[in-house]
Symmetry: C2
């Protein structure tokens, strides 16, 4: 199979296909055409076919897609066929929300521990996960085969945490701090909540000035 | 000025310019060239100029951008020169994290109240914001001039909440429920946390298969 670059826009749609196919499977749908899938997801059929073609197809002309097969292919592409162990640095509100969120476990992503520097939090646990001192971060990552580092700390601490996570061996960083990390070699996925809210403010006021 | 559609990619960069310019202003930088701004933000200079040209320019050939002027223009474009009042439906972990988050207030976005159906939560308050019964949602929105509705409730309730928020008069919806809302006329900004994490899993495993 020819290897080619997959655009960010296609990657962003993969979790949406995954979520939608999970629902279809749950409701007993066995196969679906690209047209129907596109309609349900409010995409267009040729886009759906193009997206899947990035990864080699999966459909059969005149038959459509087998839902279970497609779901398992997308799970493979997203590399969800392996478990992930994660830690969160920052046991504030976002860190706590993440530790309490049960949804990641469906995808075999487990938050194992949180780290903070606040003595009032260290030694406690959140949803059964221990809160440890940030000094122990590197040791914990190495000892427990942690592959995902989650940064839910304040902005001023974020770069240092990222550097330390990377040096200790994480394979990817999920960054909630409102800044862009530099000199990180592993993939970083930023989730800047305020940015999303500001985009909403824009759209609320510039109704005719953006593409759907 | 010619009105033209602004692409989603440009809109997504506006909050990043805004954040970066706030820092420049705070650190006393008075003017900056598109080249320098691009370098600091890891964009390219022609992209920065193109982005600003969507809104009419702002720069002077050979001088660069005045940081305060540019910041105030971007604040205008993002419509942050007005206060917003918001409510959150769902006083679980995400709702609580949002209510506790102080960062929105810098941008004059105030969360006024939370709504839930859990009797154990109703009547309590989170960071000084009351938790009310969801039955009171419409009345509260109308009475208090709420313009932003935030959905932090479970998936199965999200569409109904969106319909009710819209009918009561919100001008935009910020949706944390992992589903795409349908038949909503006001702008919706989705923040699907798990999607972001799944994109990270993809990138961790397909290092050579995506564009930076």
């Amino acid at each position: 199979m020819e290897v080619r670059k997959v655009s960010e826009a296609v990657i962003r749609r993969l979790p949406k296909y995954y979520r939608h196919l999970l629902i279809l499977q749950k409701t007993g749908v066995e196969r679906i055409s690209s047209g129907k899938l596109a309609q349900q997801m409010r995409l267009n059929a040729s886009q759906v076919r193009q997206d899947f073609n990035c990864f080699g197809g999966f459909g059969q002309q005149g038959y459509g897609y087998n839902v279970s097969t497609l779901l398992s292919e997308i799970k493979n592409i997203l590399s969800l066929n392996q478990p992930y162990r994660a830690v969160v640095v920052g046991a504030g509100n976002i860190g706590t929300a993440l530790a309490n969120f049960e949804g990641f476990e469906r995808d075999s992503i487990a938050i194992e521990a949180l780290f903070d520097i606040d003595p009032a939090l260290i030694g406690s646990s959140i949803n059964g996960k221990p809160v440890l001192h940030t000094d122990e971060l590197e040791t914990y990552i190495k000892k427990n085969g942690i592959s995902i580092g989650i940064i839910a700390a304040r902005r001023s601490a974020a770069q240092n945490i990222a550097d330390r996570m990377q040096a200790a061996g994480v394979r990817g960083i999920w960054n909630f701090a409102p800044m862009d990390l530099t000199e990180v070699e592993v993939p970083v996925e930023n989730l800047h909540m305020t940015d999303s809210l500001l985009c909403l403010c824009y759209k609320m006021n510039q109704n005719n000035l953006y593409e759907e």
